[in-house]
């Protein structure tokens, strides 16, 4: 069992959990993920690692409540434990001195972009971080991010903080600020990653996305996370999770992601309660 050291809501739907997993904490690198279970015999889900403390042997996970397993996770308190935390899994995000890197993050991606930005900065890059959300009350982590980037941009749908709009506004904002990018790195929901891949296409530089397909074992055995990338079949778990979004077959990726939408509703609708797991 993996003890939960901290667990609290960050903003509506997003939770931060610190869990003891010393072997993972000792090896994890930015962009990697773990597979967790909320309950024994429960579903296995991949979560990006948002931070770690190798000395204390802890991992920080930031996740969104979107279904049965994540709401069971959200209900966990300090002192509870997780039956499974497997990792680090996947390839780390490539960190090199690229020059100018623009990191874009939304939702739970705001959590996992922090170690990426930190490493990029340490590697000597000029780092711009853009975080986006529907409204000011959904943005978090800006203080922590500010310490690891040169420019922090905030975008909200209703303009309640920073710029008003969505990802589509970002190229214009970057132009205004005089930022040119040698690389984009996008962490967040599928919609954000796909739109970012389209929006940044004209820049002619890689748009690295951290894919989030349905995944079971995370070690290349089950094949559930497969996708078509540059015309070839890849597994998000062992070949990714980072890919150049410009080469991802998004239509297929989305279809696979929606594959079990009806089944996913069964445990949510037929327990009679959402509180009992």
């Amino acid at each position: 069992m993996f003890a939960i050291v901290e667990s609290q809501p960050l903003v509506p739907n997003l939770y931060r959990m610190v869990v003891e997993a010393p072997p993972v904490a000792a090896q994890v690198k930015p962009g990697q993920f773990v597979i967790v279970q909320a309950v024994e015999f429960g579903e296995r889900i991949p979560l990006s690692v948002a931070d770690w403390d190798a000395e204390a042997g802890t991992l920080t996970l930031i996740f969104m409540e979107v279904g049965k397993t994540t709401s069971a996770l959200a209900a966990k308190k300090r002192g509870d434990a997780l039956p499974t935390v497997v990792g680090p899994l996947g390839n780390p995000t490539v960190i090199e001195p690229f020059g100018s890197v623009v990191c874009v993050a939304g939702c739970y991606g705001i959590g996992s972009i922090l170690p990426v930005a930190r490493a990029l900065k340490a590697a000597g890059n000029r780092v711009t971080v853009a975080i986006e959300g529907r409204s000011a009350y959904l943005l978090y982590g800006r203080e922590a991010l500010r310490g690891h980037c040169d420019t922090l941009i905030e975008i909200t749908r209703d303009g309640s903080r920073g710029f008003k709009g969505h990802i589509g506004r970002l190229p214009e904002i970057l132009r205004e600020k005089g930022v040119t990018a040698d690389r984009f790195i996008v962490n967040g929901c599928t919609f954000l990653m796909r739109r970012a891949s389209q929006v940044f296409e004209p820049a002619g530089v890689p748009v690295i996305v951290s894919l989030n397909p349905i995944m079971i074992d995370g070690t290349g055995m089950c094949g559930v996370c497969r996708l078509t990338y540059d015309g070839k079949m890849k597994f998000a778990c062992v070949d990714g999770p980072d890919f150049d979004g410009r080469l991802v077959d998004w239509e297929e990726f989305l279809k696979r992601r929606k594959q079990y939408v009806d089944e996913e509703l069964i445990p949510v609708h037929h327990t009679g309660h959402t509180r009992c797991y």
């Binding site: 509506p12 739907n13 969104m64 979107v66 529907r134 209703d158 609708h269 309660h273 959402t274």
Partner: protein, 754 residues
Amino acid sequence: MKLVIDNRTVEAPEGTTILDAARHSGVAIPSLCSHPELTPYGGCRLCIVEVEGMRGFPTACTTRAEEGMTVRTVTAEIRQLRREVLQLILSEHPASCLMCEEAEACASFQTTIRKAGVTTGCRTCTNDGRCDLQEVVESVGLEEIAYPIYYRNIPVEKDDPFYDRDYNLCILCGRCVRICQEVRMNGTLAFKQRGRRTTIGPAFDRSHLEAGCEFCGACLSVCPTGTLGEKGRKWAGAPDATTASACPFCGLACDLQILARKDTIIGTLPPDTGTCSGGTLCVKGRFCVPEAANHPDRLAGPAARVEGGVLGVPMEEAIQRAAGLLKGVEGGAFAMLLSPDLSLEDLWVAGRFAREVMKSDRLASTAVEALGPAVGPFLEVAAGNRLADIGESDCIVAVGADFSYGFSPIALRIMAEARSGRRYIRVGAIEDPTAKLARESHPHPLAQESAFLEHLIASAHRPLFVLGPDVLFPDNAEAVLAAVRNFTRSGRAKALALLPHHNLFGLAALLGDTLERGASALLNDGAIRVLYCLENLPGGPRPAAVSVIHQSPFRPPASSADLVLPAAGMGEAPGTVLTLDGQPAVVRQAVGPRGTALPDWKILSAIATAMGRTDFNYADAGEIRREMPPSFALKPLRSLEGQTRGPAAAPPANQPFLLHRRPPYESFRGVALNALVPGFADLLPSGHIAINPGDAARLGTTDGDIVRVEAGGAAAEFPVKPSPRLTPGTLVLIHADPSARFPSNPCAVNLRRR
């Protein structure tokens, strides 16, 4: 009366509001708080208009239309004001999706993200696409919110059964409060706090369950936002088909709309009255249908016991196997158990099958047996049921009627009568929502039943007894029912008996004369070669019969069936039932049967045909209906006549509680509703001692604590369930297990914390 609205002369009846007059003449005025079933409130301020000669901008919903009035509903100033009002509303409602430049792309994109725990925009809202607020924003036209956004950050309330409440989305229109008070006459909901802390809920921070909520869902039906979310279909999306049908959970067979999506039942609503109608349904009809219809224990195909286990088989093979099992079995070697939830068509074919094919009249029903020996006189009284009697009597006496979680339309009529001054008297153990309007409340009579009831109606000219199912279970049930029957026979009073099962009348009318005494006798009869359980296979030990055929929408209890035949479930086959007042009600098909399931009559007909019969070739339910007699007379339940029980004992002083026991008669196709629907088990759990909260506190117990119940020499232990519906000193135990035996019912008991 004539007035001018937007330069058009319109007619309006005396006493209407400007809003109604405008809507009747086809002029749309935006509004969020008004509702045709509710008193005007003037809360949202969107329906402001200009009236010549009046100062300012009166709200159309609260201003009476008058002869010769000149009203303007759209001017530049009104438009501007409405936009301001709407912006103020939306500044406290997560509305960013409404003005998002990516809204269209995002909507077409939607994936699993929709099942968010908290709604932070339309795309993660359970009400997306069927939201009054979205419609109003569309009609008023709004591109941005100029005011600071204020998110209230109120924790989402998820602890009550059936629906969640996220008051971060609430716009305080008060529709839910008004429908709870005005239409349901319940009053669970009220405004709490003030200013920007205002929310809605029961006073004193009680849970809805504690506050006496009936979970009728009227509040959900009228909410113009996604504040209230139905747990059972939060993320199912908007329905793609709506079928007017009848509720399957009791003899009222209330009209309801079945909502379906992708050929699956996702919910129900009260009958469509042209608007989002309010709350005529009880919790069962409003919330339990989809959960029972789509229960994980639903059967999708037949199965047969073979050596070493259970094997899924195709339907044709299952029919052949059934014919094989039944071959050569005749007369007393064949017996059939039936559910009183089956349609007339199913019962008709089942009756023919048993009598003509199997030459047996060994038919019984465990559900009917569970109602006890008083069910015979109960049904005899029920034969005179006329719903119109409620409005025509001058004194209504409800006996053993618990209106908390059932029979809502009757309760609403009684309460309406009581509010208009009609005398209403309650006799029974439970403090239901009608209690506050009762002139008198009495405990169940334990002796001199006839004199007691006579006394209650002494001054009335046209008294009406309303008998609930709970009248059936006390030891003196027959005496009470005999007294009522005497009143109705002599014309002194009328009576209305509330039938706990969907088609109890149909079962009694078609098969009453052959229903054998004691279904449990059939279960224990080892001489039976084949026991055919038609939607009626109780849990517990395997029946003694050599072979057991289980036909039901639901999986059989563990290892008790040799052949399992999947029957069409709720809303999956058309049929007819006899309702409370003996009228046929049509149940329509809303979705296709699950898997290879078939209507019960079709399976029976196929087996009969496989056994060589040529006269079971019905094309559809209508053909069966045409074969049945055009009307039905109630037949006496042969099995249940002539049984008597001893008189109830008076409670001794050292046993301060009176324990009432009853079976879980709220059921569907042979399965208790509290076993099918967990939320319903929160309301009426089996095997719990329901106790007054004050009594529970005095004993030092809370929900789930185990107490020891002692009566004379008998003792048993149960968890407690505090319930505001119980008066001090009263206990109720819902129990299907006869081993929970006490010397009498009701029974004076002592309670001790374990």
